[in-house]
């Protein structure tokens, strides 16, 4: 009679399953966070309540515990959570679900045979939030809020590795604000800062959530476009160029039009490192500048003929 009381006091979730994966124990912590009362779930198949757990990984871990007597660890980093619970923490809204670090291990009967699977669930949302904040501070550009160059390099390397592994397309846009020095010299650096923020925000609204927009330096920017070939990238680039051109940027009682020049490159056999890809995009960007600015140039090709409005 002591153990059930202890298990209800503990600030972790305890779930015990029998070998048929029916719930045997469901402690108060689990009741509180799942909203499912112990008397409702005990004796029932876990998957009736949590169908998302009926997946190969969870089943494999159960087999490891029952078959091998293994202790199994589900790290928050890799799994994020086992049980989809609402986060309790009001620190941050970035995690739609409570982040959990879980263990799973065997419970044996008097004869030493494995009779049950015990799962413990720890709420690590706060830790994950702090970690995320630290990571973000380290990868974002202070002025524009988009990614910084360090992150661009890391991410580009990862994306190129991924592209090689899955044989997907990958393109890179590189762009530059035309005559930015004139803007700074004419209207002051404060207005210049506003332009950098406004242009990146505008372009950020035109790309997909999987694309990575980063400040390369000064008024130069890069955008990684995963699973995008050169032709698709050219369409995105041209859309960005035209939207910026059409927009009237106004702040502090000043209104100006801005244009951008863009270079586009994609990963192909001989261009397979971040350095080479950036260099290709940079050369295309240089050609766009030289060709009169406010245009898109594809690496190794001539200028993109602006297509008619969408």
């Amino acid at each position: 009679m002591i153990f059930p009381q202890v298990s209800d006091i503990l600030d972790i979730g305890i779930v015990i399953l029998d070998r048929d994966l029916k719930v045997f124990t469901w402690n108060r912590w689990m009741e509180r966070h799942s909203g499912i009362a112990a008397e409702r779930i005990i004796g029932q198949p876990l998957f009736d309540f949590f169908p998302e757990l009926d997946n190969p990984r969870f089943l494999r871990s159960c087999r490891c515990v029952v078959g091998l007597g293994n202790l199994y660890f589900f790290s928050q980093k890799l799994h994020h959570y086992l049980f989809p619970f609402k986060p309790v923490s009001t620190l941050d809204k970035r995690f739609p679900f409570m982040q959990q670090s879980c263990n799973m291990g065997p419970i044996r009967d008097e004869n030493g045979a494995i009779a049950y699977i015990c799962i413990t669930v720890r709420d690590v949302t706060d830790i994950a939030v702090y970690e995320q904040r630290l990571i973000e501070m380290n990868m974002k550009d202070g002025l524009t809020g988009i990614y910084n160059r360090r992150f661009l390099n890391t991410r580009l390397r990862e994306e190129i590795n991924r592209t090689r592994r899955y044989r997907n397309a990958l393109s890179l846009l590189m762009f530059d604000l035309d005559h930015f020095k004139v803007v700074n010299d004419t209207y002051g650096h404060l207005f210049g800062d506003y332009i950098l923020q406004a242009v990146t925000a505008l372009i950020g609204s035109l790309i997909r959530s999987t694309d990575v927009l980063a400040r390369y330096g000064g008024e130069e920017f890069c955008c990684i476009l995963p699973e995008t070939d050169m032709n698709q990238a050219a369409v995105i680039a041209e859309r960005c160029r035209r939207t910026v051109e059409a927009n009237l940027f106004h702040s502090q009682g000043i209104a100006v039009h801005i244009t951008i020049s863009m270079g586009v490159a994609q990963v192909v056999d001989e261009i397979d490192t971040p350095e080479k890809l950036i260099d290709q995009a940079d050369q295309a960007l240089y050609a766009a500048k030289k060709g009169g600015r406010n245009r898109v140039v594809l690496s190794g090709a001539s200028e993109v003929t602006p297509v008619a409005a969408d």
């Binding site: 990984r57 087999r63 091998l68 890799l78 990862e158």
Partner: protein
């Protein structure tokens, strides 16, 4: 501190230990294949007792001084305690990732590669260590508890052994087996280290193990 004689493993006992590991690893790889479709082969283990202070040079010799390796380290404790180290040659991660992700290709799509490699090594390492150590424990009538696995990516041998692992005056029992994943380019080394403090119990368990054949 146990007296000298009690804490030294005889050559007979080393043979028994080797036999136990053989049986244990055979069972472990059969179970891994049966329960979770992981097919590994383990070599006949090398068993020896060396002064703990010599562990770094032992590893340097086994792995190669300049080699970069990835390591999964787990402590285990039951009636005898020790460390399990799975040492993978570098590059194994991507092969292992494909083992885990073939059942669900989208699983890791958006994870940063480093987290992915770590998570995969941790997951597979934990399974392999748990199976192998668990079987040895089972043969010796023990049940093990494990610490969560710690993963070190791309290290040199010098960084493998934590400084505080053993009292440098102690001896360590090393069980070392090479393993490979069938049909995969994944090779490595499973090393189990027991502290001297475990030797007394180990000797007793070994003699009990032999009694069933007497």
């Amino acid at each position: 501190m146990p007296d000298h004689q009690e804490s030294i493993i005889s050559s007979d006992e080393i043979d028994i230990l080797q036999e136990i590991m053989n049986i244990a690893f055979g069972k472990a790889s059969a179970d891994l294949a049966e329960y979770i479709d992981i097919f590994i082969k383990l070599s006949v283990p090398d068993v020896r007792m060396i002064p703990a202070a010599q562990l770094p040079s032992y590893f340097a010799e086994m792995v190669g001084e300049r080699e970069r390796v990835s390591i999964v380290e787990q402590k285990f404790w039951g009636k005898f305690n020790g460390y399990a180290l799975l040492v993978f040659t570098s590059g194994a991660e991507s092969e292992l990732i494909s083992i885990l992700s073939c059942e669900d290709p989208d699983l890791f799509r958006d994870e940063p590669i480093d987290d992915l490699a770590k998570g995969t090594l941790m997951e597979i390492g934990n399974i392999v260590v748990g199976a192998c150590v668990g079987k040895i424990a089972e043969l010796l009538n023990d049940v093990m508890a494990y610490s969560p696995p710690v993963v070190l990516l791309e290290r040199s041998v010098a960084d493998i052994i934590p400084d505080d692992m053993f009292n440098s005056a102690d001896s360590a029992v090393i069980l070392n087996a090479l393993f490979c994943f069938e049909n995969r380019e994944v090779n490595g080394m499973l090393v189990l280290l027991f502290s001297q403090a475990s030797v007394v119990w180990l000797k007793k368990a070994l003699s009990e193990f032999m009694e069933q054949y007497a």
